[in-house]
Symmetry: C2
Subunit: 341 residues, 2 copies
Amino acid sequence: MIPPPFLAACRREPVPYTPVWLMRQAGRYMPEYRAVRERLGFLELCKSPDAAAEVTVTAALRLGVDAAIIFADILLVLEPMGVGLEFSRGDGPVIHRPVRSGADVDRLLPVDPAALAYVMEAVRRARAALPAHLPLIGFAGAPFTLASYLIEGGGSRTYARTKTIMLGDPGAWRALMERLSASIAAYLNAQIAAGADAVQLFDSWVGCLAPADYRTHVLPHMRALVDAIRPGTPVIHFGTGTAGLLEAMRAGGGDVIGVDWRIDLDVAWNRVGHDVAVQGNLDPTALLAPVPEIRARAAAILGQAAGRPGHIFNLGHGILPQTPVDHVRALVDAVHELSAA
Amino acid sequence: MIPPPFLAACRREPVPYTPVWLMRQAGRYMPEYRAVRERLGFLELCKSPDAAAEVTVTAALRLGVDAAIIFADILLVLEPMGVGLEFSRGDGPVIHRPVRSGADVDRLLPVDPAALAYVMEAVRRARAALPAHLPLIGFAGAPFTLASYLIEGGGSRTYARTKTIMLGDPGAWRALMERLSASIAAYLNAQIAAGADAVQLFDSWVGCLAPADYRTHVLPHMRALVDAIRPGTPVIHFGTGTAGLLEAMRAGGGDVIGVDWRIDLDVAWNRVGHDVAVQGNLDPTALLAPVPEIRARAAAILGQAAGRPGHIFNLGHGILPQTPVDHVRALVDAVHELSAA
């Protein structure tokens, strides 16, 4: 059987056209998603396997992309740790009992995978509902990004508290990162067991780090985590603002390195090496531009990938809520048309 | 006469030790500054030449740095354009009448340098009060960063409105950038005429751009602006999150390229080329760490600069308000001690 183009590209095998999927493809920009969200709050939707599977499948089929990604959130794994996770309307996620010391790290509850069974159930239902040839991606937040939420208590501009613990209390930092890495690996393996065909690690905010800090305080934990993921399942290792970190991220592991738009794709691929696949890297705001401009940008990125096996087209971060659905579909079509041999 | 180390380093001449100054060295972390701010609002302080000169000089002398930088704000040049600039407490700057169309660009008032005479007066007074050997830096926001404030009406996470105009209405974008570049050049030349020994262009948010967009929509305007600055005065060209843009920024101009901490300094210098000076690049949050850690990090950066003429030590962005003054002084001392031949 011919493997689906997305999985072939993860393994740097030749493909008939460049596969494409889009981060946050099931999201607020899409009317079908907004309709579901009128009935269900964000966390409620994550915890409703039928509804989560439905938005997952609807988005993939509506757009004609080459992979679905399970509807969930990178922070779900933190809830069973007992830190008081809340998704507040407008303000983004809040951790009501943030981690500020080694004692706080010790108080974190071990993650019982049963507490996240709703995600695995959504994966099973989405996998069952999807066409057999359409891969389903599972995902989790990466340890640094999750640690930053735990410590800051939410988003941050400077990550000052996170870095203060990382630099000032390396023992507590290591304990936290080890605990997170183990929980994330178990969680991803459970998603794989439930039917995920590939997994993505979102280290969304790791780009705030100096390369030396990444190498010392993040890279060993990433490597341990990636090594603990069931062999044979492609791992996508993604971050934003990582133009100075790419070589180190690649050393951290993953079959595919996710790259944002702040670096040319050809330059990024040269840096991580051509013996690994890459995913990216259109600026999500480009989808607000007129369709001919979107097509020109897709062509430019495909040109930088130069037809080399191992490119998965994606945005450099999630689709913005104000994006017209027609523009998203036009991008998917453009990638397929322009890359077909 | 031996030139001051800061100016020698701008010109890549040998220096007895690595010169250091720190962005936002006159700021909220410093008790003397907070005392002045109890009397004067932020904009009021900017518009009080005596007080602005005082905080400029006090910070430089208190820290023992190798340059003073005039106390002002990158957005001041926007006020005479008639867009309703306000510095609101806590929320950061607000533009009450943002630019959203070509017609809005046409409505911008031409900047009469007389409207900014208070800055030039502060430069004159600071220059007169500083020791003769201590250079004074003037500055302005760069066109892209100022355009982003004008269009977004304040700060932004995505710069979606800015990019929508940049990509969707290139004529309006070009008109705005040309107008900003001309105003900024005139403003910087006035600061130089008033006594500034060097100038820094803050393109603080340019790191949100894809390299191709920078090359098309920003670089030509930067080059025109830098070319219009009085020859013989060193120009520092600074941005954050620019690891993927450094070669293009260098092509935009400047004697010194300011680099943030998200890339190793030696890697950055290789990219911009050794025929230009570099400034940076300690993570400002590192100043929250214990002093021995600060010294180790200063040593690491000096090691990456490898004693090559043309390195000015600085942070990668401004000093954070919660930074202990003693830590800042310890950094300045460490740079001087560790770099002395």
